[in-house]
Symmetry: C2
Subunit: 288 residues, 2 copies
Amino acid sequence: MAVISNGSVTAAAADLGISQPAASRLLSDLTKGLNFQLFDKRDGRLVPTQETRILQPDIERVLELMGQISDISKDITNRQVGHIRMACLPGFATSHLPRVVADFLKERPGVRMTIEPDRPERILEWMIGEQYDFGITDDFVGHPAVESSDLDIRTVCVFPSGDPLESLDSITPRDLSERRFIQPHRDSAFHRRLSRVFSDAQVSWQTHIEVRQFTAACELVCHGAGVAIVSEFDARKYETLGLSYRKFAPALPHTLSLVRPILKKPSLVTLEFMEHFRESLSPYLLNT
Amino acid sequence: MAVISNGSVTAAAADLGISQPAASRLLSDLTKGLNFQLFDKRDGRLVPTQETRILQPDIERVLELMGQISDISKDITNRQVGHIRMACLPGFATSHLPRVVADFLKERPGVRMTIEPDRPERILEWMIGEQYDFGITDDFVGHPAVESSDLDIRTVCVFPSGDPLESLDSITPRDLSERRFIQPHRDSAFHRRLSRVFSDAQVSWQTHIEVRQFTAACELVCHGAGVAIVSEFDARKYETLGLSYRKFAPALPHTLSLVRPILKKPSLVTLEFMEHFRESLSPYLLNT
DNA sequence: CCAAACTATAACATCATGTTATGCGAATAA
DNA sequence: TTATTCGCATAACATGATGTTATAGTTTGG
C-alpha cells in the first residue's frame, strides 16, 4: 500500500521510515509468498497489477481497522473508554452521584456507565455475584468476597431556619432534649451510634419518626416535623430550602462503604472513577 | 483471540501450532506494547479483562478480513478472479464468442468480463490506448504498441442445400465461374486474397454483393442470393439453416489477429482466457 | 553521453519468534 | 497433609524476518 500511495519504492520506504533496500526486499518477499506479481515495471517505476488492484480495497480496510484498534487501545490506556456498572444507595442516585458522574464522563466520551440504586443487602448480593463493578453502601459488615473501604461522612444537626438552635455554634444531645427527633431507621448502625451518644449524655430522645434516608429526614424537618442528624452534604443541599444546620457534638460519623468484588479485577476506568468519587466526598469527610 | 476462544494459553498454542511458551511470550510481549492488562489470572486460568472485551470485536473483524484477503489472493493464483476487458469484431460478439466466454466463466465465479464489439480500426485504437486487455480483429497490419498473434481460420464455400455443388468434394474457383458471388468487403485483406486466387485461376468473379461480415454473407446465401467463401465456423452454424458447404481449394485462410497492448502487462486471467479462446478456434484452424 | 533517480542485490546486524527444559503456584485426589 | 496434575512463566538458545550500508544496473532527461 505504501508503494501504491507513494508511487515508488523509494518514496514508500521514506514514508515507512525504513531504507529503500528494506522496502524493496519486503516487496519481493511478499510477492514470493503470493505466487503472482504485485507490480509491473513500467518506465523504471512500479505500477500495481490488476491483481493488486483487486486486493487493494480489502487491504485498505484492514489497515484502517488496525488503526482503529490502535486508537481504541490508546483510549483504553488514557481511560477514555470502558463500561462502569455501579450500584448505590437510592439517596446517592438522586443527590450526590449525578454531578460526580457527569463531571467524570465529560472528559471521557467513550465511557459508559450503569447506575443501579437499591437497598444495601441487594448491593451486597450484586458484589458477591460480580454483577457490578463497585457499589456505595452503608452498614457494611464485611464479606470474604467483597473488598471495601470506609468513608466517615461528617454529620450535622438540621432544624428549620430561624429556630433558636441557630444561635448555637455546635449542638449537643442536651440541646435537643426537648425536641421532636427524626431518627434514622432502627436497624441501621447509625441509629445505634446515635442512641449511644444520647444515652451517654443521659438525654432521652423521643421516638417520633423513623426514616431510612437522610433526604427524607431533611424533607420532614423542612415541614417542621422536628430536628434530625444527617450527613453534612444532605444538609447543605437543603440550606436554600428552609433548613439551617450546625455542627453536632460529639462528632458522629455516618460510615459509607465503597465496595467491590474482591476477585473481579476492576477495569482501569473503574479504578479511576472510584478515586474520583472518593475525592468528591473529601470535603464532607470527618477528619478523625 | 486464540487465547480467548480456546480458553487457555496452552490450548491456544496448540490451536496455533506453536509451543506453549511461545504463546505465553507472544502474549506478554503484546501486553508490554499496550500498557494495559489483556488477561487476568483467575483460578490459574486467564480471563479477558473488560479492556480486552472492548477490543475483541474489532480484532475479530481484522482477522476475518485478513482471511478474506488470503482467500482472494488464492483465487488470484487459481485464476478465479479478475476483470477481462476485450474488444472484438461484431461478428464474434454474437456468434462464436458467447459460448467460449460462458464456458470460461463457468469455472471462475469471480471473473468479470467486458466485451466491446466494434470495427477493427477502433479496436486498434483501444489497444494503443490500453483501454482493453485484448482484442480480436482482422486485417491487422502491425503497430509498435500492439502485440499480435495471427490465427489462420479455414474457409469454405457455402451454397444453398441441394445445390449441384454438393456433389463436389472440394470446390475450386473454376466451379464458381458462373455463380453470383457474395464478396467480402473490398477493403479487406481477405477480399484481396480471394480476388488473387480467382485471377490466378483465370476465373472472373461477378461483383454482385459486398458484405463486411461472414454471417451476413451466410444469410444472403440462405436466401438464394448466391454463393460465398466464409470461415468454416460461420458456415457450420448455418448448416441447419439451409446451407451446405464444401472445402475450398486452394485453401485460403481468413486471418484473425489476437491483439493486446504490448506495454500493459496482461493479468493472469487474461492470459488464460486468451489461451482458452485460441484453443476454441483450433478445430477451425488451417493446418499449413 | 552524462548525471540523476530508481531499483535490485550482497553482506551483514539485530530482533522477533520459535524451540526445549524447567520451575512455580493452584487445584485435586489420596 | 502430601503427592499429583495442570497451567503458566522463565531461561537459554536457534533461526528467520527485517533492518542496515555499500554498490551496481536501468531508465530518463538534458
